[in-house]
């Protein structure tokens, strides 16, 4: 196909921060007022653009944490060597403004009509779009069976823990803690492996729909394990993010 030059379209809009909430020591949820927002679907993301006084600007993508029909929230993890996340997690206050573009992405999304059973596997802040999916499932009254396997460094690093624990019962929520486990920890320990999936993954014969989100190496390792378990490639949806 031929190449061409395309003039950029104006798709950025100004968002006003309405609240900043601490999730863990390094993670904040930021609620945004976006008057022109067309609505989003669980799993989508948005781009944030920050511009300094000298004109230097930086863009980053963040998953939308809220369900369909809710006001837009994003959840941001502070990366110590990051250019944008330290500002968003430490400096940002209600009333501050930023530029936002979105919602973005029609592949890594879920709605009740997409069915299941759902297998959601998240690493670190990869839980954000997966939380939006679980939240939308709950709010829409969907009875699609769902299981979440969430890998975090320690229990203190688990984002949305209170909310996720509330889904226990209508969904199955399991944690694996990779670096440290509290005394008497009854969940999984260590990186996601085939033995864990043998206990939590729906059998391929049930035609499951999987969503995997996390750092690139995490996503690739888990996707490979699921394909080895005969999950169909087209029903294993993945989203990778950078930073460590």
């Amino acid at each position: 196909m031929a190449g061409t030059a395309v003039r950029g379209r104006l798709t950025w809009q100004v968002a006003t921060v309405t609240a900043v909430t601490a999730e863990t020591g390094s993670v904040r949820t930021i609620a945004l007022d976006l008057p022109g927002w067309p609505g989003h679907r669980a799993g989508q993301h948005l781009d944030v653009r920050l511009t300094a006084a000298d004109g230097y600007s930086a863009e980053r993508s963040y998953s939308i944490a809220s369900a369909d029909g809710e006001p837009v929230t994003i959840t941001v993890e502070r990366l110590d060597d990051g250019e944008v996340s330290p500002y968003l997690t430490q400096e940002l206050r209600p009333g501050d403004q930023m530029e936002v573009r979105g919602p973005i992405g029609n592949w890594f999304t879920w709605g009740p009509h997409d069915g299941g059973p759902l297998l959601l596997i998240a690493g670190g802040s990869g839980v954000v779009p997966v939380r939006a999916i679980l939240r939308h499932r709950q709010r829409s009254g969907s009875n699609v069976p769902a299981r979440l396997l969430y890998s975090a460094r320690s229990l203190a690093d688990v984002i949305y823990r209170d909310e996720l624990d509330q889904y226990q019962g209508s969904a199955e929520v399991r944690y694996t803690l990779t670096r440290s486990q509290p005394p008497g920890w009854g969940g999984f320990s260590g990186r996601v492996d085939d033995a864990m999936l043998a206990r939590i993954a729906w059998p391929a014969s049930q035609h499951p729909l999987a969503f995997i989100c996390g750092p690139t190496p995490f996503v690739e390792a888990v996707a490979e394990l699921l394909v080895a378990r005969h999950y169909l490639a087209g029903r294993v949806k993945t989203e990778r993010f950078g930073g460590a």
Binding site: G3, S61, N106, W107, R240, G242
Partner: protein
Amino acid sequence: MTLDGNAIGGLLLEIFGRDMTNAEASCAACGAVGPVAETTVYVRGPGTVVRCRRCTSVLMVIAQVRGMNCVDLSGLAALEANPRR
């Protein structure tokens, strides 16, 4: 830094005027067909490079030059915005 096609959803939206993460890309080199979301994407070079997840051939290159997006799609045999899946 290696990401995937989800990460350039906003850039592609700007260029194509619609969501392209769900579009179906056909690799001109190996014939692999799959959603743009699942391609391999490198964003830290001087431009954005999109590669085939199966054979690693370059599918698309996008570079910003003086406010213009220069888009090279020569590694694609086809890009179907409304795939029938």
